[in-house]
């Protein structure tokens, strides 16, 4: 299932629509990085509200996405991880500690705005 990526100002918003295969995740990684470069984006929000499960591969790929985007000089926020997904992730030992997370899209945007404000000072 393809993940749509929308441009909002200097940010990109990728909204997962449902279950993702490994191939979908790798495609998302490539598509996001390509867009960040092409659009000179300063921030990316990855909305996982509709994602029903996050296993080790998904978790690793999301960490890689955040790392790659950070190396490009942009920030990534993961939003919308469902409580049952978070529960299973922690049981599995996946904590995504290096990645910024926020409750929802609104909080994610607030984080990116704050971050770019700090960068201007």
């Amino acid at each position: 299932m393809e993940v749509p990526i929308l441009k909002q100002g200097s940010y990109l918003i990728a909204t997962v629509q449902g279950a993702l295969t490994d191939a979908d995740l790798l495609e998302l990684r490539a598509a996001l990085l390509e867009r960040v470069v092409r659009m000179r984006s300063q921030g990316v929000i990855l909305d996982l509200t509709a994602l029903d499960v996050m296993d080790s591969f998904a978790s690793r790929t999301i960490r890689e996405i955040a790392d790659m985007i950070r190396l490009r000089g942009a920030a990534t926020v993961i939003v919308g991880i469902q409580p049952e997904v978070a529960f299973a992730m922690v049981q599995l030992g996946l904590t995504l500690e290096e990645v910024t997370t926020a409750l929802d899209l609104e909080e994610g945007l607030a984080y990116l705005n704050q971050k770019s404000k700090e960068a201007r000072i």
């Binding site: 295969t21 191939a23 499960v53 996946l94």
Partner: protein
């Protein structure tokens, strides 16, 4: 224990991992597991079918649902003819991994489920059985 229903998903390619997840989600829901338990079972199924694909290249996930008195449960059995595990006790210990993975597959799946049994012979294959009870 009374057998209620059973089936299997063949794991031959990467996309079958997602197929296994989908099958188990439907089964867990139908059996009456809550969303947290369902997510745990689906996550364990994902890790264990990933192990089959990663280490053995191919295998099968067999599932069955059963009732025992008031309790209902689901059992998942992952079987492959891969390289096998030399030291099973070591393999379920935290942080253990041989496949360049995250080392969370087996111990993680054990935490997500209620019961886990591993039967493995080097050079012959591995069978991992996990169970979760639906307590209502």
């Amino acid at each position: 224990m009374n057998l209620e229903d059973q089936g299997e998903v063949k794991i031959k390619q990467e996309a079958d991992i997602a197929m296994a997840r989908r099958a188990i989600r439907d089964i867990a829901k139908k059996l009456g597991f809550g969303i947290t338990e369902t997510a745990s079972i689906v996550t364990a199924a994902s890790e264990l079918s990933r192990n089959v694909f990663k280490y053995a290249g191919a295998g099968v996930m067999q599932w069955r649902t059963f009732t025992s008195g008031e309790n209902k449960g689901v059992e998942l059995r992952f079987e492959d003819r891969g390289p096998g595990i030399a030291d099973v006790n070591e393999a379920v210990r935290e942080g253990y991994s041989t496949g360049g993975g995250l080392g969370m597959g087996l111990p993680g799946a054990k935490r997500l489920m209620d019961e886990m049994e591993i039967d493995s012979t080097v050079g012959k294959g591995t069978r991992v059985t996990v169970r979760k009870w639906c307590r209502r």
